[in-house]
């Protein structure tokens, strides 16, 4: 046990000796947590629309007025030439083009039907879908109004929809992103620092010296993991109770105790992954390439930014094997929904399994003798 004390003393000294590293560990996550959630806004607003009006009738003007007053669209060009509107799409100035054909009003009156043409820049599928959907709804409502105006025939029935948004009534996107981004930042600190630190001893050669001493494998590993575990908890606390509370006004709804319990467990699993990476690399360069790769998977396949349900089945399996997935979910559940331990038992058990598997694998692989 006293060996462990000396190992810990050494690690903490080394960490605190290097101001650049310390700054990276503490400051970078805080700054990023302040800035990045502001940048993460999925809400589709201000859809830019270019309208080609070949009809130039009272009816087309009414429709355009409806679109403008809907609040979803920003009219950036009003033209009579489809080519001009299309070049707006090419230059990314417009997301959507509405073409009103010549004779819309006439056709509606004479033939009792008309047609409209919409072209959407669909590179970003979501924006295309949402833009198209909004426009369809406006046109459908416009159509409904026309009917009431022109005919006294059966108005048909209407189904209304009342929406209640639970947990986040103002649909504040930052409430959703801050807990998730904090998870990633803590994961980066733990993951990179730990794997690089261990491999550095390999590369510099000090590990040889350690290996001829009677230090036990487990003590050496604990000596490496505990300092970073502590640092991660500090970073998490800074993020949760300073940045998230002061800047974003987020106060966890659920139990802090359960939250920290899960954090503690999660960090054991993540540090296990880092340890595993370090056992497979001989140089810091290799460790870093591997960590970079893992971190990309951790971030992009965790449901942090894009929903897991819409991934192909094989990718959903990867997401299911990704510890970050569970912590992101648990954070959002506890912080925003006030979920209790009973609601996340499945997440707990899975994380226990991760912690056990990664760490035993790493320890088996960490060979003291060749």
């Amino acid at each position: 046990m006293s060996t462990l004390k000396f190992l810990l003393q050494k690690e903490f000294r080394q960490i605190f000796r290097n101001p650049t590293i310390l700054r990276m560990i503490l400051l970078v996550p805080v700054v990023q947590l302040i800035i990045l959630p502001l940048a993460a806004d999925f809400e589709i607003k201000n859809i830019n629309i270019s309208i080609v009006d070949n009809d130039r009738s009272g009816m087309s003007q009414d429709l355009i007025e409806d679109i403008k007053s809907s609040g979803y669209f920003r009219l950036i060009n009003y033209t009579h030439d489809f080519q001009i509107a299309f070049s707006d799409i090419e230059s990314d100035e417009a997301d959507i083009v509405l073409e009103i054909p010549n004779g819309l009003e006439r056709d509606m009156i004479r033939e009792r039907s008309g047609a409209l043409f919409i072209a959407v820049n669909a590179i970003n599928g979501t924006k295309a879908y949402v833009g198209g959907a909004y426009l369809s709804r406006i046109i459908s409502a416009f159509n409904q109004d026309l009917r009431t105006e022109f005919s006294s025939e059966n108005r048909g029935t209407a189904i209304g929809v009342a929406v209640i948004n639970w947990f986040n009534p103002m649909l504040n996107y930052q409430f959703f992103m801050v807990p998730g981004i904090l998870v990633v930042l803590v994961t980066m600190v733990g993951g990179y620092m730990t794997s690089l630190n261990i491999v550095k001893e390999k590369e510099v050669g000090t590990i040889e010296q350690i290996n001829v001493t009677p230090i036990r494998k487990t003590h050496f590993i604990l000596g490496k993991l505990i300092p970073f575990w502590v640092l991660c908890v500090i970073v998490f606390t800074l993020g949760m109770f300073v940045v998230a509370r002061i800047i974003y006004g987020i106060v966890p709804l659920g139990s802090i105790f359960v939250l920290y319990g899960y954090l503690a467990l999660y960090l054991v699993a993540i540090l296990g992954v880092a340890l595993l990476i370090s056992t497979y690399s001989n140089t810091q360069q290799q460790a870093m390439s591997l960590s970079f790769f893992m971190m990309m998977i951790f971030i992009l396949m965790s449901g942090l930014f894009t929903p897991i349900e819409s991934m192909p089945q094989w990718a959903q399996w990867i997401a299911a094997l990704n510890p970050v997935t569970y912590f992101v979910q648990v954070m959002r559940m506890i912080v925003m929904k006030g979920s209790e331990f009973g609601h996340i038992t499945k997440h707990f058990l899975i994380m226990v399994a991760f912690a056990v598997v990664f760490n035993s694998w790493a320890i088996l692989n960490y060979k003291k003798t060749s």
Binding site: T3, F6, Q14, N18, G205, T206, V212, I215, T369, S370
Partner: protein
């Protein structure tokens, strides 16, 4: 010099695939000896030494270190040896005292013991003014002396030195050997590899490794007699020129 064997090997082998790095070496090192372990680059010295330290498991053969078996009792061996590697092995981002304290600590020395011994050590090395400097900022020669002192800080029965004086100037080398002799006087058995033949002369006995075999083992004076050489350089040249493996 007692008759206790600090190192005893019998037909010790290490192969990597087809490559026989160490080929049936058999030798003993007695307590209190300064044993020089010589050989050209690639002769198998480092591999042999790693097996003796418990860093690498032999392919076959027997060996005991301080009476402990290298297969089964590596943990006990580690408690009783010191090791200073070719690569500089102190932490450059820790200070002199912090390094000493750390290595003392992991060998299970008590705090009070560490304090008194490190005070003594710093005095011996005349590092009083540098005790709180980062090791990385010290000149190489001082680092090497410090590394050696740290390697024997826990008073091991036996210390392995792997080319300890590589790259340092003659004066420092001289001082380094004074340290080795002092440790030897204190009863620590020294096992040292080196490239410098003048250093070989300081050893009680030396072995000469060529292509994985031990080709000669005797005291320096006896070896010179056997090979009718004026200096150890000539002995070395005589033995090593037939070597097939070089780096």
């Amino acid at each position: 010099m007692g008759d206790l064997k600090m190192i005893s090997t019998h037909d010790l082998n290490k192969t990597f695939g087809d490559f026989v790095a160490v080929n049936n070496i058999t030798f003993d090192v007695h307590q209190g000896e300064i044993f020089g372990f010589l050989g050209a680059n690639g002769a198998g010295k480092t591999t042999a030494m790693r097996m003796l330290c418990g860093l690498s498991i032999p392919t076959s053969g027997e060996a005991t270190i301080a009476g402990y078996d290298v297969y089964k009792e590596t943990e006990k061996i580690k408690r009783n040896i010191g090791y200073m590697s070719q690569k500089f092995s102190l932490y450059e981002d820790l200070t002199v005292t912090e390094n000493i304290r750390f290595y003392g600590g992991i060998y299970g020395l008590k705090d009070a013991e560490i304090r008194s011994r490190s005070k003594e050590l710093i005095q011996t090395l005349e590092l009083e003014d540098q005790r709180d400097l980062l090791v990385g900022s010290l000149p190489l020669g001082w680092k090497q002396k410090l590394a050696f002192s740290v390697a024997i800080f826990h008073h091991p029965k036996l210390v392995f030195l792997d080319e300890p004086t590589g790259g340092v100037d003659p004066v420092t080398r001289r001082q380094f050997w004074d340290l080795i002799h002092k440790a030897s006087d204190d009863g620590i058995t020294i096992f040292v590899t080196t490239h410098y033949m003048d250093e070989a002369e300081y050893c009680d006995r030396i072995s000469m490794m060529v292509d994985g075999y031990i080709r000669a083992l005797d005291s320096p004076s006896q070896l010179k007699k056997t090979y009718q050489a004026a200096s150890m350089d000539e002995v070395f040249y005589e033995l090593a020129r037939g070597a097939k493996r070089t780096e």
